[in-house]
């Protein structure tokens, strides 16, 4: 009994000392994971993930507090990338979060009263204009987050789906009708 206690105590004491030593000596901090996750997110900054922007969502994922399937703008592809990055199983979107077609905000110039509310709402400064002047969306900067739609007091902002043009046309996945020879 005594020898047992001695042996185990010796082992424990030595190990404990070494670990304590290492914990301080080799202390590191910082979490590069957040940046990696943030890199995968689409940076739409729309808040549909229920976090105020992509970075906070990334932080939440890194901390293990959020699921990876909360970002509709990222699409299934985004979830897949997150799953791969984090080494977890792919998880489809829930009922509440479904990706929408990519669109652009368009301001109806005749209705706009120049209230600047939309400018304040836009997370990427994609709206140009000054107080009491007509505002316009800079199409190339707009991420389609829809955050400017709600604040507009005269409902002059609408989201327009970006249609297919030759410039952004993509070859389709080859799909063929099954033969009816079963």
């Amino acid at each position: 009994m005594l020898s047992a206690l001695l042996v185990m105590s010796a082992i424990a004491a030595v190990l404990g000392a070494v670990l304590g030593f290492a914990a301080i000596k080799f202390h590191t901090e910082g979490n590069p994971l957040v940046d990696k996750i943030d890199d995968v997110l689409p940076q739409t900054q729309c808040g549909q993930c229920s976090y105020p922007g992509c970075k906070p969502y990334a932080t939440a994922i890194a901390a293990g507090e959020a699921d990876i399937n909360r970002c509709p703008p990222g699409g299934e592809e985004g979830i897949r990338k997150l799953a791969e990055l984090l080494g977890v199983e792919f998880k489809p979107f829930g009922e509440d979060a479904v990706p929408k077609a990519k669109s652009l905000a368009v301001i109806d110039e005749s209705t706009c009263i120049g209230c600047t509310l939309c400018i304040q709402a836009c997370p990427v400064d994609a709206i140009a204009g000054a107080a009491k002047q007509m505002h316009t969306v800079i199409a190339s900067e707009c991420t389609g987050c829809e955050l400017c739609v709600a604040p507009c007091p005269v409902d002059c902002i609408s989201m327009q789906v970006i249609g297919e043009k030759i410039a952004n046309w993509k070859w389709k996945y080859p799909v063929y009708a099954m033969t009816a020879t079963t």
Partner: protein
Amino acid sequence: MTLQEFKDILYNGVWKQNTGLVQLLGMCPILAVSSSVVNGVSLGLATAVVMSLSGAAIAPIRDFVPNEARIPVFILIIAVLVTVIQFTMNAYMYSLFVVLGIFIPLIVTNCIVLARIEAFASKNPALQSALDGLAMGLGLTAVLAVLGGIREIFGHGTLLSGIDLVFGDAAKAWVITVVPNYHGFLLAILPPGAFITLGMLIAGKNWLNLRAEQKLKGGSATITPVNGGCAPATR
């Protein structure tokens, strides 16, 4: 603990987060010791006891352990519990102990034990932790029982063989011969059989889940065949 909490923990442990079918933790004993129902259930129960006790033991002390010593201390506690059980089985169920062999001490490193400690017991009170451990252990036992049953039937054509190791020679009569004059499909009781059978069980659970999901959605959602050059088709 509320009743709902109780139910949740139980459901989670036994079915939703089942160690063998979903989390894929604690695989070694599942695969190695499931060549018969009796072996499987015995080891499963032993694991359940260890999990439950360790959950209960670690939950109260979790705040006193510095981070750098966390894993060693947790492991130490688990190891003590396992060794205690090992001695007890060795003393009072010797023949079963011999059959389960190296897998009793290996409950220590059974991933699921530490995983639950880390995931649950280090965040929840003792009672819940104990229940969670027990539920997880029972989930494991259930898988072991089913797996053991299937492998035993396919491999030997019997069920409950070896029951005498637990209940003494009198129990020999309890052994059920499912298929008389069976040739014995040896593969089933060898390691490959274990893997493949477990694969089938996982697929079975997937199938049940899928069906439940479809029912929820209103039935009609059959899996549309993906067509990626994998199926004959015309252009």
